[in-house]
Amino acid sequence: MKWLKAALATFLAVLVVYGLNRNYGTEVPALGPFLSPYEGFWLNSERNGDFTSEELTIEGLRQPVQIRFDSLRVPHIFAQNDHDLYLAQGYVTAKDRLWQMEFMTHAAAGRLSEIIGDQTLALDQYQRRMGMMKSAKESLQKFSSDPASKALLDAYAAGVNAYIKQLSPREYPLEYKLLKYAPEAWTPLKTALLLKRLAYDMTGFSDDLRMTNNLRKYGNSVMQDLFPDYPFREEPIIPVGTPQSFKPLPIPATPAEFVAGLASHTLERQKPENLGSNNWAVTGTRTANGYPLLASDPHLNLTLPSIWHAVQLHAPGVNVYGVIIPGAPGVGIGFNEHIAWGMTNVGSDVLDWYEVKFKDASRREYWHDNQWKPIKRVLEEIKIKGKASKIDTVLYTHHGPVAYLPNEEPYRKATTPIGHALRWTAHDTQNELMALHSVNRATNYHAFKKALTTWAAPAFNFVYADSQNIAIISNGLFPNKWKGQGQYLLDGSNPTHDWQGWIPMDHVPQVMNPARGFVSSANQSPVSPKDYPYYLGSSFAGYERGARINQRLSAMTKAVPDSFKLLQMDNFNVHAQNVLPTLLAQLDTKAFTSAQRQAYQALSTWKYQYVAEAVAPSVFEEWWQALSRNTWRDEFPVENFKVPARDRTVQMLLQEPNAQWFDNIETPQKETMQDVIQVSFTQAVDSLTKDYGTVNDQWQWGHHKNSSIGHMARLPGFGTKLFAGGSANSINALNGSHGPSWRMVVEMGPEVKAYGVYPGGQSGNPGSKFYDNLVEDWRLGKLHELLFLTFAEDRKEQTNVVWVMKGKK
């Protein structure tokens, strides 16, 4: 009996300890270590006064480095050589964002199963099949072949690793404790993976398969009508009529067969209509101080920890301030003492799918140019937490990887075609790191442009300003395509369907000091086909944001930074202005219910401003969506077909009221445009009433659009909710969780002054005030002056925390 009691009690104790020391899937962490206030999450709490001046000994540092932190905790790094500069940047970025850096690279590499388990296996496999790991390795080779960029990468990695090495498990960022794993050494490959991830976010989608299905069903003339090469309304980035100074290369001839033979499969990641960003610059004659002003706000899916890390880098030959994605050295968007720059996504068609004809079931050879050619097989080892690794074989043609074989079920069935090889600029290597390195040091437009010649992917509209000039350049690697190439799935056996060369870097769309006195971009068509010989694609963001920017900039004569700050917060929606009067005029108001009458009244007096407190934007958005659905769903069900762009729908409403597409082919009677407008309005009001009851505060746009910023790994409780205005087609393009990720305004002149804010904070630690301290300022449109120091002791009263770093003797 004594023994039984002893055994039972001991068993129970061991069971309790064991049970609390292991995690259960990704839902429940190991509660013992996680909750223990001596090693768990409690220790990640940051107190006021925890962040103090220090003297640090850092392995690998050649000379002392000083890092001064300002009130936003932005590090201002003063080094005596480039090596120390990037080493210190690696160290200090890791201090703020180690988990985020590693998690992003794990996701890009297809390595999430290593830390999470087999739930993420399909996603990891998808990343490998898209060639992410392979092309990151190839990019790294390219970076390493240049001694300067190799030194840069190595110094940065040494800095990150110096931080990791002195970290005890009790100090691990919270997310490591939650998933119970440890940080691994940082490698230059991880930086290369981050750039691939950026390319994937910006360009990793296409509508080729949906477009092909459309073509099969409706034929070429309908396609040309509904999917024109150039929009009905446009204000291209390069002003219409801008002459080109180069002699164009020959354009490849369009083959008779411009589409692959058959397409039996599932769908690709659809190109989002709202992916966007803004940037602009005005010339000195239109500003108050007589020097150019520049603004940039890249739009991304907003997350915490913040997408961007702000930093100032100072060493002989460089003094630059701006933001960068944690894990990459240098500054991505920012300014130095001479120039300022920003980016928006170009959105050109740089990802195409080629139908592959295999010789036989062994899939060792494929048919191309009238001969059988060998397929290269690349093995990918996917490690899985708690299980044996999975070895995956990816087949490569000369086009690129065959993402999924005809007998396979792709990850997200609706997003990836089977039996097709992927041709994508993200697989082409260039030295993007050296491009950034040189941009950070550029002192004039010539140097800036020269630096961009090694920027391949993703292609960006780079806006530029110095103390005399403004410019914009749609820069990146663009295949020299025949017109329409890659709109549809391509034939992988036909050599005329191959990409046949590149648009030379000095032939990319660009303009310097245009007569109108400003440059701008908002992801719309870079250039009118009338002014430009090459084909860049036919599906860009709508012109509305760009038009609003241009309209406001045209009216500016004495611009100051505040003018730009207000413009970045502009909630006006040109699209609503274009269509709402027509829609309202078509409504039969006689039989309105009281909710319909209230909604109608809100819309009638609305000034097209998407402010959070207004009800009209909620009604208009619901109405437009219903209208679009009711017009197109019967002929172009989204499961398999591409719906015509908003622009084309607008054109029909305004100019083709009798278009056949308004009729719902699923009903015996014939619907008119007016019927569709009326029934869509009813549906919109019904839907809002169903969700929120009779018209009340819940109908307000700020509530209805339900914006939030979530944690990068979607942990509940680690994000933040927003009551905010803006819309996808406003300059303030906050839509759901997608929106302005960094708002920057730079005033050029003898002394450069800059302002900025981003939705988050410098720290990646959810237990720090600096995790989300800027969110509220960002929501309200408040910019902070960016403290741009000329030497370490400059305005030292504003940098009260100072780290002095010395090398190990």
Partner: protein
């Protein structure tokens, strides 16, 4: 006496050793000093529970509860104070059961 010993030694152990070292401390001390099962459990529960309460309360107060509020939301418990209570109960439970087992093992042996 047992309670005080557990309180002090488990506190010291946790500063350097993994969290489960409290189980070893409680087992050993109850093996040595405990008179009854109930007494062993209470001493272990209160000894470890208090060390967890003190430390968690300290972090809760000095950090304004920024992090515990987020973690509480993650676990879908209503407030950081519930999270704190759960933390203390878990620590206490581990201390209690390991102390009881220490006591019973000694009784089986002698």
């Amino acid at each position: 006496m047992l309670f005080v010993l557990i309180l002090i030694l488990s506190l010291i152990a946790q500063l350097f050793l993994p969290w489960w070292s409290v189980a070893v401390v409680c087992f050993a001390l109850a093996f040595w000093k405990a008179h009854r099962g109930g007494q062993a459990f209470t001493a272990g529960f209160l000894g470890v529970g208090l060390t967890w309460l003190g430390a968690a309360l300290f972090w809760q107060v000095v950090s304004d509860g920024i992090l515990s509020a987020r973690v509480a939301e993650m676990f879908t418990v209503e407030s950081p104070w519930v999270l704190l209570a759960v933390t203390v109960m878990l620590g206490g439970l581990v201390g209690g059961v390991s102390a009881v087992s220490g006591f019973f093992v000694r009784r089986a042996l002698v």
